[in-house]
């Protein structure tokens, strides 16, 4: 009789502990990783997209709606990356805490100066994101701003633990600042060098570390490269003395291998999201691996 009672008590304690935690939903793994660092054990973070998944095409599951209904805070990029699947999920979840403008809705791109924002909206220049390039989480300094944004949102949703969140943010900022020295040092020898990307997801990373990312294997997002485009890429790489190609898990590695074999370039298998590569669960660990892999490909 006693044991079931203890179990029931433990369960009840667990449940209240679970209830007491702030329910956080992050659309993409990078926001999730930062949210975990800021929230610590005071929050329960759910990430929708898998780190190896193309963020444009996320397979929505019923639990997403359940989580959104119970969420206190939603963190999204807001720069058109999740536009295909998040609005209908939110519509079905009908959670007033997450309405636009409420403190529970964190739009990470707010207050960020985006790169490659089209000056005119004719969209004749190609498939452009009207709000600018959405891959800003590849710049650790921008990530600090996003972390602050998240800490403020947590603090206003859960005032009792506000001090903890701000303290965690201070720790996060310090850690990133220390790491920035390290990462900058690792990248310093390659200042001005070209990195060839499959998709234009690296402009923020390149800008932060003094690299150049202007050559892309795909002629346009989602369009497989034509032979003439690859010929042009190979010629461009030779004139730019580009020796490093970076490929993400959901891109076609064969194209990169082909181009690498005719230019002698080296391929770095990288990712945009923490957790996509082994031992990259936190943002700092993730950036460690990315910097190391890109540096290795540039060195050879």
């Amino acid at each position: 009789m006693k044991i079931p009672a203890i179990i029931a008590a433990a369960l009840a304690a667990l449940l209240t502990a679970a209830e007491a935690k702030l329910n956080v939903v992050a659309t993409l793994p990078d926001y999730g990783a930062v949210a975990r660092d800021i929230g610590g054990d005071k929050v329960d973070v759910t990430v929708m997209a898998k780190p190896t998944e193309d963020p444009h095409f996320v397979d929505a599951r019923p639990s997403f709606i359940v989580k959104l209904r119970a969420a206190d805070v939603l963190i999204e990029g807001g720069a058109e990356l999740e536009v295909g699947w998040l609005p209908p999920l939110l519509q079905n979840a009908r959670n007033p805490k997450l309405e636009t403008g409420k403190p529970g809705r964190v739009i990470a791109s707010e207050g960020i100066r985006m790169m490659n924002v089209p000056t005119t909206l004719t969209r004749a220049a190609g498939d452009v994101h009207a709000m600018g390039n959405p891959h800003f989480m590849m710049d650790p300094i921008i990530v600090k701003a996003v972390a602050k944004h998240i800490a403020d949102a947590f603090a206003s949703a859960d005032a009792a633990n506000a001090a903890t969140y701000q303290a965690n943010y201070a720790k996060f900022e310090q850690a990133i600042n220390a790491k920035l020295q390290e990462w900058g040092g690792a990248m310093l020898p390659f200042k001005g060098r070209q990195i060839v990307a499959y998709h234009d997801s690296w402009p923020y990373f390149a800008r932060r570390f003094g690299l150049v990312s202007e050559i892309f294997l795909e002629p346009k997002p989602g369009i497989p490269p034509s032979p003439s485009h690859l010929v042009k890429v190979i010629a461009d790489m030779k004139t730019a003395h580009a020796h490093a190609i970076i490929v993400e898990p959901f891109h076609n590695r064969k194209t990169a291998e082909k181009v690498a074999s005719s230019t002698g370039a080296h391929i770095a298998d990288v990712a945009q999201f923490p957790g996509a590569l082994p031992n990259t669960e936190s943002y700092a660990a993730f950036m460690d691996v990315i910097v190391a892999r890109v540096a290795a490909a540039l060195k050879e």
Binding site: A60, P62, V66, P88, N92, T100, R123, A124, G222, S226
Partner: protein
């Protein structure tokens, strides 16, 4: 159960009210032996949107929608023209070729078009879980022009949602169902009794064209909310189950609807509790039902024979 209703109310509604027409069309399609017609039609409509994008039109531009419907009609004309009885070339070959060429042509065109790649791709990978009340019941600004203002059904679509111009899927289905009801003798004639219709002097090709055109509208409006996999399963699996179990049209229709309902609702509940992608769960549930039917069918036939 209450939670399922709260989370998946509109997908459930869609899986209850929409499949009967698909089952009915599926019986036609299976009888005609043109299994891949749905994918070919969806791809042709998608090609139409690509051509519109090449001309710089936005996806929900009325002109672009008209172009897509135009391509559906071209496909309908093509399929009705090539459907000659006794021809050396199987009709399914023409349909398959239309599919691959349309798919490849969209890739070529998208390389040139200024924008819209992702959205056009999204049209073929619709997700039943994300269906909203507007997707199903919206009147749309197009029909709204002809109707007195109705507040409940004519609300503007939510932010970032495409397609506020066309009416919701339910109205398309209603329209196509009505036309099928009105011309039932002719449309059933060309599907189920072709030789007889020929000999009676019916204009088979014209009725074929109407059949394919209506079919194209249904596929194009359903594929956007449910995706290619799901529409294919809804058309073919219940119809095949029904053909295995029964002979008359009426009972086949009844069996098909029951299979579609069990598969749809069962798959959806399964996807909720096991947290699986909903569309794929429904497709697999329908597949399991087909296997079960195929196992049970011989027993039923044997029992019937024994009774006689």
């Amino acid at each position: 159960m209450k939670e399922i209703l709260e989370v998946m109310l509109w997908p459930l509604v869609a899986c209850v009210i929409l499949p009967p027409l698909l089952v009915y069309l599926g019986l036609h399609v299976v009888q005609r032996g043109i299994i891949f017609i749905d994918i070919a039609m969806a791809q042709m409509a998608s090609l139409g949107f690509c051509v519109g994008a090449l001309c710089g039109l936005e996806l929900d531009d009325p002109l672009n929608i008209a172009i897509a419907l135009g391509f559906t009609l071209i496909a309908a004309a093509l399929f009705s023209f090539t459907n000659k009885s006794g021809s050396e070339v199987p009709h399914e070959a023409t349909i398959g070729i239309a599919y691959v060429v349309a798919a490849a042509a969209s890739v070529l065109i998208l390389g040139r078009a200024a924008h819209g790649d992702e959205e056009i791709k999204n049209m073929l990978v619709g997700n039943i879980l994300l269906v909203s009340a507007e997707d199903i019941f919206r009147i749309g600004t197009f029909l709204g022009n002809f109707l007195p203002p109705m507040k409940i059904l004519n609300e503007p679509p939510a932010e970032n949602m495409h397609g506020g111009f066309l009416p919701g899927t339910a109205w398309w289905f209603l329209l196509v169902g009505l036309v099928h009801l009105i011309f039932r003798p002719q449309l059933c004639g060309v599907s189920f009794a072709r030789e007889q219709s020929h000999s009676q002097g019916m204009r088979v090709r014209a009725w074929d064209f109407l059949f394919y055109a209506l079919f194209g509208f249904v596929v194009t409006s359903f594929v956007r909310i449910a995706g290619v996999l799901l529409i294919f399963s809804y058309l073919i699996v219940p119809a095949v189950c029904a053909v295995l179990l029964a002979r008359t049209m009426r009972i086949r229709m009844l069996i098909g609807c029951i299979i579609a309902l069990i598969g749809g609702v069962g798959g959806m509940i399964g996807s909720f509790y096991a947290d699986l992608p909903t569309g794929a769960a429904i497709v697999c549930a329908l597949g399991v039902l087909l296997v079960a039917t195929a196992l049970v069918a011989p027993l039923i036939h044997r029992m019937k024979r024994a009774q006689r």
